[in-house]
């Protein structure tokens, strides 16, 4: 169990620092727990690194057959893949385990969380902070580095800033999708796989040039699930290309705004879901 003494001994006056220290203690305990079996941990990180490359193998095989996909070169599609992988693996590390919510509900652990003086979402997020996902982020960074070498980008300060912000905004977008998908499981308890379509499916789709999709799919994954803002639209802005699917240029720079809207929507959905939740016993 986690030691929560700082929380108990702190006075009511400094509630904020004590809450924070509770979360810090939670995260720290998860992190040290993962380091206990070093060999096992190294293997897990390696496996995650490998997962990234197997994902990339699809793009490699496809470009073995063709020289451009949906009007984009190997390096350009690799860049979309890399930006998505960085964003998704970080989001997966921070909140990915939230898809275990139905299990917590079924076993009653979630009710225990509701009774504690910390937010349920905060506890869920800190319940399993999988450092091994960093392995997959490393694959993303490696591919990103290679893609940047092979693409012709006219660097400006704005584009450099966009390159740095994009994985962060993308991570926030995926976090929002994870939370929203978990919130939906308050209504559909056996529907974990339903959520996978938007989380893992969103990851798959975001890493590809949107020009290959049907227009309905393009618009749905831009304006309802903002997956286009993770990699496709920012890549267009980096390359200085107009969107072949007809979206205005300013939208390509709007990743952070999309992330904020997505986060707000996810928060709203989570609150409603929690309100709807009546416990596993009934």
């Amino acid at each position: 169990m986690v030691e929560l003494q700082p929380l108990g001994t702190a006075g009511r006056g400094d509630a904020v620092p004590s809450l924070l220290s509770a979360y810090v203690a939670l995260v720290r305990s998860r992190l040290s727990a993962q380091m206990v079996y070093r060999g096992s941990f190294a293997f897990e990180v390696g496996a995650q690194f490998g997962i990234g490359f197997v994902d990339f193998a699809e793009i490699y095989v496809v470009f073995h057959q063709v020289s451009s996909l949906g009007g984009f070169s190997f390096a350009e599609v690799a860049m979309m893949f890399a930006l998505t992988t960085c964003a998704f693996s970080m989001a997966d590390m921070f909140v990915g385990h939230i898809d275990g919510l139905p299990n917590y509900v079924r076993t009653g652990q979630f009710d225990a969380m509701l009774l504690r003086p910390l937010s349920a979402l905060g506890q869920l997020v800190t319940s399993d902070f999988s450092l091994r996902r960093l392995g997959r982020a490393m694959t993303g960074l490696l591919v990103l580095g290679a893609a940047l070498v092979f693409t012709d980008i006219d660097w400006t300060p704005a584009r450099l800033l966009l390159l740095v912000i994009t994985p962060v905004a993308g991570c926030a977008i995926f976090c929002a999708i994870f939370v929203a998908a978990a919130a939906v499981s308050f209504w559909l308890v056996e529907g974990t796989e339903f959520a996978n379509a938007f989380t893992y499916g969103g990851n798959y789709l975001a890493s590809l040039p949107f020009t290959i999709f049907h227009v309905a799919v393009q618009r749905f994954f831009t304006f309802v699930i903002p997956a286009a803002f993770v990699a496709y639209l920012p890549t267009l802005a980096l390359l200085g290309r107009k969107d072949p699917t007809g979206l205005p240029g300013w939208l390509c720079w709007s990743g952070p705004v999309a992330a904020l809207i997505a986060a707000a929507a996810a928060r709203l959905l989570w609150r409603n879901g929690l309100h709807h939740y009546v416990g596993a016993g009934s």
Binding site: S40, E44, L69, F194, N196, G201, L208
Partner: protein, 258 residues
């Protein structure tokens, strides 16, 4: 035991609907990529055209839950908790009883997981029906054999739990390699030659690519017969290997149990 496996999975209807939905979404993304490829190459690639690519995607998406290309650790878990000792004491063969349960699960998955994505996909994106009589006759046996090969592989990987404390990493690695080489992501025919050689030196293409090839017309006549014969060969080898490893493991278990 096969019937018990069937009814255990049949309890989760909502999960089945959700599974099919996700399956269909992934199918649409996969097909979009492959159709973009034939847009570039002028209509065909490695013997596939629009209709047969759609068939490949929807048959393989339908089969993934039947053949089970995901991580499976039930047996490993029983080894870790020690429940395996009870299983071994039962008067039934451990490997064959798990196989029977798995065949029951697969039968349920055909109805619950495979039919809908195939029909929806076929209606929305087109379908090429097989016309080679040999291939048509062999489709059902090929799917059954694919389930057995898949089970035999998973059984083997799970047996590692007798020697390793934590098998999660190993299972992840197995699923990873298998998913790529079984033709789940891209048809094996599209692989560069070196990767094709790697794939066909493993049993993995016989999990998904081989039964799918019978439907898409990639394997016809004697080629289809040869493919099913190879599946049969892998079944014998992998089940045999599983028995061998299990007997080694139980010897060790007896020693430890004192």
């Amino acid at each position: 035991m096969a019937r018990a496996g069937f009814s255990r999975w049949a309890t989760y209807r909502q999960a089945a609907v959700a599974g099919m939905f996700t399956n269909t979404v992934f199918g649409i993304i996969k097909l979009s990529v492959l159709l973009a490829v034939i847009d570039e190459t002028g209509g065909t690639v490695a013997g596939y055209d629009h209709a047969s690519l759609s068939t490949y995607v929807w048959v393989s998406q339908g089969l993934i839950a039947v053949v089970y290309v995901f991580g499976w650790s039930e047996l490993a878990l029983r080894v870790r908790t020690g429940d395996i000792a009870i299983d071994l004491a039962r008067p039934v063969d451990l490997q064959l009883s798990w196989l029977a349960t798995d065949l029951g699960r697969a039968t349920y998955a055909i109805g619950a997981r495979a039919v809908v994505p195939m029909v929806v996909g076929a209606l929305l994106f087109g379908f090429a029906f097989p016309h080679d009589p040999t291939a048509i006759v062999l489709i059902a046996p090929a799917i059954a054999l694919a389930v057995v090969i898949s089970f035999a592989c998973r059984f083997l990987v799970n047996l590692a739990a007798f020697w390793l404390v934590e098998v999660r990493g190993l299972i992840t690695l197995y699923v990873l390699t298998m998913n790529l080489l079984c033709g789940l992501v891209v048809p094996v025919q599209l692989f560069p030659t070196w990767l094709k050689v790697v794939a066909y030196s493993t049993p993995f293409p016989f999990l998904l690519q081989a039964p799918t090839d019978l439907v898409t017309g990639q394997a016809q006549g004697w080629q289809a017969v040869g493919s099913v014969a190879a599946q049969l060969g892998w079944c014998v080898v992998l089940l045999g290997l599983g028995r061998l490893v299990l007997s080694r493991a139980t010897e060790k278990l007896v020693v430890q149990g004192g």
